[in-house]
């Protein structure tokens, strides 16, 4: 996904004009995992999102892919604080009635990756994060998660919270029939019970410009000069 945006005048947020909301990469994998499990075992997928009315478009996309219904936890501004979001979600999910709560491993925009395990903790549910394989059998789950240089397999009882990494499922494209059906599926709007955010954005800035680099030269003849610079100037070799 290519993102184009500009900072707004306060230097703390993005200019909303021209911003288009999409299902995040990992959230798409999570939704696909849910849809495949329902195809195999029955039940239904409910899609939930927190945010202004703009997220309804995203929720409709989820419905078009095959979710049965949608819930918008309405908030004018989505806080950066993962704990505030997890509080709103756990308030919505506290009465149970589900086998799995699936999240993307990390949001493509804010890149925090904290809401899933925080929600699990607030709901006191077992949780496995960043999974790349999943098996469900007789109320038990088994998931594989990639570590640095190795992988671990975790076992857990249902209901559980999982956050989904890449490689597990490619999100399906909505069919025309699905898009038509989505218009008639229920989309419930409720206020988000976010509570107080204690992690806030102080400022946003473009990353420090890397000092202008230079082209050392063209072709293999430039190699000795590159090596000299790496050894004596950058001192990294």
């Amino acid at each position: 996904m290519e993102m184009r945006f500009s900072l707004s005048g306060d230097g703390k947020s993005l200019d909303q004009g021209g911003l288009k909301y999409e299902i995040g990469d990992f959230d798409g994998y999570a939704l696909e995992v849910g849809l495949q499990l329902v195809e195999k075992y029955g039940g239904e997928v409910v899609v939930i999102s927190i945010g202004p009315d703009g997220v309804q478009e995203t929720l409709r996309k989820g419905l078009a892919m095959g979710a049965a219904r949608a819930v918008q936890l309405k908030a004018d501004v989505v806080p950066f604080d993962g704990l505030a979001i997890a509080r709103a979600l756990s308030a919505e999910l506290k009465d149970g009635g589900y086998d799995l709560v699936l999240f993307g491993r990390v949001a493509t925009d804010t890149a925090n990756g904290t809401v899933g395990p925080m929600t699990a903790e607030l709901l006191d549910l077992p949780c496995v994060t960043s999974i790349s394989e999943l098996e469900i059998l007789d109320g038990q789950g088994r998931a594989r998660r990639e570590l640095e240089g190795s992988a671990e397999t975790m076992q857990f009882p249902l209901p559980a919270v999982l956050t989904i990494d890449e490689g597990i499922a490619r999100p399906r494209l909505a069919s025309l029939k699905g898009i038509m059906a989505a218009k008639k599926k229920p989309l419930e709007v409720k206020p988000a019970q976010l509570g107080e955010a204690r992690l806030t954005v102080e400022s946003m800035a473009l990353p420090p410009e890397r000092p202008p680099g230079r082209i050392v030269g063209e072709g293999a003849d430039a190699v000795p000069e590159l090596l000299r610079l790496l050894q004596t100037e950058a001192k990294v070799l």
């Binding site: 704990l83 997890a86 804010t110 925080m118 903790e121 077992p126 992988a151 806030t200 990353p207 990294v236």
Partner: protein, 328 residues
């Protein structure tokens, strides 16, 4: 006096490099805020032998939690034990690595304590009334400065963002029991498989040689591997295009949806520099780009570039490095 807690990550009975990074980061915070660095180390009986090493990097106190069931990661036991420790006393902050384990653990601890967490930070400052931290977001296109209020402030630190330097002291070493019976944990690791055996991990490597589509075919990755081998302690990475095509395993992917790395030296071979790839490596200290297209975006972030045919340039670089290594 307020202290800073550092989570000392281990695997298979050994401290990981990020354990030293979190201790050094905690030392820095403690020196600014005043107070001690307390490291917490979990593992099977025998892990206590690793405690002393944490003192070399600046821990004043190391609390060792040994239990046979902690031979493998037990998220619920570690989260409960860390939360208990942080709740009981006056901790100003707690620092974890933004590693697979740290990213899993820190949010659980934060939620248990009802405190907020700044994740994947590349820098931070402990001030009197708040902690500020820098967090790359929006595919690395923006650096968000976050402000955390309340004690303790929890952070996960991007691997490689801090170079572990020694701050030697003789740490006091104490033992503690897990805050819950490990047999009661609902989530358990049933298998831990090493992959690629002794292969150097991308997050731990100080030098990464990475390849893209410009290599044209999977077998040409030997050029990248040979260069990494000639350098020595270098790891091999790849772009998403390459891992999607199956030239390299998905776990080698560097970028927005793969690994986020900050090595001292990043050599990009045949990589054009898509924004998603840059998100994963633009915080490298020195970047070298080798690409035939002089207008490729990778040259905008590279410190040093060579324009030309990588099939001539890379073997020459490998050869020159081998020669230089022999002379020394």
């Amino acid at each position: 006096m307020a202290a800073i807690l550092a989570f000392a990550e281990s695997r298979n009975g050994e401290l990981r490099k990020v354990a030293f990074e979190t201790v050094v980061a905690a030392r820095r915070a403690a020196d600014a805020a005043g107070g001690e660095v307390h490291a917490m180390l979990f593992g099977a009986p025998g892990i206590a032998s690793q405690a002393e090493a944490l003192g070399r990097y600046g821990a004043d106190l190391v609390t060792v939690v040994e239990h046979a069931a902690l031979e493998r990661y037990s998220p619920e036991v570690l989260a409960a034990t860390l939360a208990q420790r942080l709740q009981g006393t006056d901790y100003r902050g707690a620092i974890f690595a933004a590693s697979a384990q740290g990213r899993d653990l820190a949010p659980r601890v934060a939620a248990k304590l009802g405190v907020s967490l700044a994740s994947d930070v590349t820098g931070f400052e402990f001030q009197t009334d708040a902690v500020t931290a820098q967090h790359p977001a929006y595919t690395g296109k923006l650096i968000v400065t976050l402000r955390l209020v309340g004690n303790p402030a929890l952070l996960t630190l991007r691997p490689g963002a801090i170079t572990p330097a020694e701050h030697p002291r003789t740490a006091r070493i104490e033992t503690a029991a897990p805050a819950m019976n490990p047999a009661d944990a609902r989530v358990t690791v049933t298998d831990l498989s090493a992959r690629g055996s002794a292969k150097l991990d991308l997050g731990e490597a100080t030098i990464i040689v990475s390849g893209g589509r410009g290599l044209r075919a999977a077998e040409n990755f030997t050029l990248v591997e040979d260069l990494a081998a000639a350098i020595g302690n270098a790891a091999v990475g790849a772009t998403r295009a390459v891992t999607d095509d199956g030239w390299r395993p998905a776990t080698d992917q560097i970028g927005q949806t793969g690994r986020l790395v900050s090595p001292d030296l990043y050599i990009a071979v045949g990589i054009s520099g898509a924004v998603q790839h840059l998100a994963g490596m633009r915080t490298a200290k020195t970047i070298v780009a080798i690409n035939k297209d002089k207008d490729a975006p990778i040259f905008k972030v590279a410190d040093y570039g060579i324009v030309g045919d990588l099939f001539e340039i890379v073997p020459r670089l490998t050869e020159e490095i081998r020669k230089a290594r022999k002379e020394h």
